[in-house]
């Protein structure tokens, strides 16, 4: 009976995983196929299965479209996993890298880096973004803890909003001081995906690998932490160590996302909630599924961003915010 149940669950599990991976492959191919020049899906698969340097479509796919699709995939996964980890460890349904100030901290550091060092800062972008995200996260936590009642969901959101507003003001100030240089940062600051930033992905790779390794290691223990520190201690979880590792992973993943695509709001908030509807609350499953669904979601959003007002392209971050903000309002009504 127990084994029959287990088998049934395993079957459900693998079909769910296959569905997610299927969706990613489909959106990935679709993402590559749409654009200024429409490339039929058949050609897209062709370009991967039998690449021919003489076919123009294949060159467009490999040199222009593929980098953008990969960045969308990576950024979506990073932000969704960050949100899932944050929601678990802080036991806060409203935790999200954007709402708790990490995105603005990372962007702030990047903007300041550009201001002082120009584009030579490129290789240090992930490091810079991480430092900014870490400082912002600690600042938000410190302010929320100092508030009466301590770090509750509401105080965390409020202190996140305050820190975000403060950093946004400084960013605008810096922009006004140096209009020319920041012309190209303006689009990035709304959250945008562009294949031309593919070089940044190389610099992000070590951070991505490190953060992903930590995430794999902590995911299962986040469920214990989500039941409260005391329960986790009783189960033999080293609470301080795991919290530190989660902070590192969240900062690493968030800053890679910011370095690649700017501050992209609400993905970290929305995706884990959607995932939980389907796989339950065990973070050993929530975290990997968040990665899959987040990747598929941002691919889809990026398709919409390019298609909706074609040939004009909307900044992808605007679309994630347009979709995410109403969800946030619903969540506040339902969960706060």
């Amino acid at each position: 009976m127990a084994t029959a149940n287990t088998n049934l669950r395993l079957a459900g599990e693998s079909s769910r995983a296959l569905m997610c991976i299927g969706a990613i492959i489909f959106f990935f191919a679709l993402h590559i196929s749409v654009g200024a020049k429409h490339i039929p899906l058949a050609n897209v698969f062709d370009a991967f299965l039998s690449y021919d340097a003489k076919v123009f479509d294949h060159i467009v796919i490999w040199d222009l479209r593929l980098p953008r699709a990969i960045i969308a995939l990576v950024v979506g996964a990073c932000l969704a996993v960050s949100g899932a980890l944050m929601q678990g460890v802080t036991r806060n349904a409203l935790a999200d890298p954007g709402l708790l100030g990490l995105l603005s901290g990372a962007s702030f550091a990047v903007v300041i880096g550009y201001y002082f060092f120009g584009s030579t800062v490129m290789p240090f972008l992930p490091m810079l973004a991480s430092a900014g995200a870490l400082v912002a996260a600690c600042l938000v936590w410190w302010i929320a803890t100092a508030a009466p009642g301590g770090a509750r969901p509401l105080t965390l959101i409020l202190s996140g909003a305050a820190v975000t507003a403060f950093l946004a003001a400084i960013i605008s100030g810096v922009q006004l001081l140096d209009q020319d240089n920041f012309q190209n940062l303006r689009v990035w600051l709304t959250g945008s995906i562009s294949g031309s930033r593919f070089e940044v992905l190389y610099w992000c790779t070590p951070w991505l690998i490190g953060s992903s390794a930590i995430t794999l290691y902590v995911a299962r223990q986040v469920t214990s932490l989500a039941m409260g520190d005391e329960v986790a201690v009783g189960l033999g979880v080293n609470v301080a160590k795991i919290k530190m590792l989660v902070l590192l992973a969240v900062v690493g993943l968030t800053s890679c996302a910011v370095a690649l695509a700017g501050p992209m709001g609400f993905i970290g908030l929305v995706i884990p909630h959607v995932v939980r509807l389907f796989v339950g609350t065990d973070y050993a499953r929530v975290v990997p599924y968040s990665a899959l669904v987040g990747a598929a979601y941002l691919l889809l959003v990026d398709i919409v961003a390019r298609m909706a007002l074609a040939p004009v392209e909307i900044s992808t971050g605007l679309v994630t915010s347009l979709l995410g903000a109403p969800f946030f309002v619903w969540l506040v009504k339902a969960k706060l």
Binding site: A2, A93, Y217, M227, E230, V233, G236, G280, T281
Partner: protein
């Protein structure tokens, strides 16, 4: 003849008591000072927890009974003194190896929304697993056994948050049982439950302690429940242990007055032989 039998019975009883008192305690608290951050609550507390028995801690609010339990459970670090598990210091052992021997049911725990009963109970297997050794059939059996013992199999796939208070508490107890430890620490497991449900929970705990020979340390609020179920009763006040021993010795009108400032008569229930306190009505 009857007299002879009675004498024999007393001899056996005496021997039993002798054996018990000579056995090494499951847990030993030695001269512990401790509390939260700067505030020291526990003042030089020493206590032996007998193996295979139910030890119940009672005392007025703020007396340090929960603080003591949390210090034993290594949720809190003592300022000085030590808690020994056998001959090893609980606060110096790797936390995961402590979790193989000692489970904790925290006070008023809240399951993450949507977590099912089976998932919750499965969390109890955490200390038995590692990154390389994940889920095994032994884990599955321990989870099934724990759910059977607490009679929650029928809720296995329902979210914990959809259950009643008593059912939820049975799930948390099942999680502690799935951890498969010799010792279970429970912080006010019956608070906010109806009397009938409190009794159900305590019956479940005593049955488990007896059947599986587990050592339990329970912080309780309800005096009469404590007197009914304790093998050993510990009364605390102002961070110190005031009385400690067999229920009949400890649960007296004098102790209730000096520990709780409670004016009550203590009578003995004919059937169980357990003391019961009845408050004196003020005139």
């Amino acid at each position: 003849m009857a007299q002879l039998n009675a004498q024999k019975a007393f001899e056996i009883l005496d021997r039993q008591i002798y054996v018990d008192s000579s056995a090494a305690p499951a847990l030993a608290v030695n001269s512990v000072y401790g509390g939260y951050g700067e505030t020291t609550i526990l003042q030089n507390v020493s206590l032996d927890i007998p193996e295979g028995k139910i030890t119940i801690l009672v005392g007025p609010n703020g007396c340090g009974k929960s603080t003591l339990l949390k210090t034993i459970a290594r949720v809190l670090q003592p300022e000085s003194g030590e808690v020994l598990l056998g001959d090893r210091n609980v606060h110096k052992m790797p936390t995961k190896s402590v979790a193989l021997e000692m489970a904790l049911l925290a006070q008023g725990p809240i399951a993450p929304e949507g977590l099912t009963v089976r998932e919750l109970v499965a969390q109890g297997r955490f200390p038995h697993q590692s990154f390389l050794r994940q889920w095994t059939t032994e884990d599955a059996r321990a989870v099934d056994d724990a759910m059977a013992a607490t009679d929650i199999i029928q809720f296995a796939d329902r979210p914990v948050s959809s259950l009643s208070g008593g059912q939820r508490q049975r799930c948390w107890i099942a999680m502690s049982l799935a951890q498969d430890t010799d010792i279970i620490l429970l912080d006010e497991p019956t608070t906010f439950l109806d009397l009938k449900v409190q009794v159900d929970v305590m019956n479940l705990l005593t049955k488990t302690a007896r059947d599986a020979h587990k050592t339990m340390v329970v912080v309780l609020h309800e005096l009469n429940i404590a007197a009914t179920y304790a093998d050993k009763l510990v009364m605390m006040r102002d961070g110190e242990i005031v009385a400690n021993g067999d229920v009949q010795e400890v649960f007296t009108a004098e102790n209730l007055r000096s520990v709780f400032d409670l004016d009550a008569n203590v009578i003995v229930d004919q059937q169980s032989g357990r003391p019961v306190c009845v408050p004196v009505i003020a005139r």
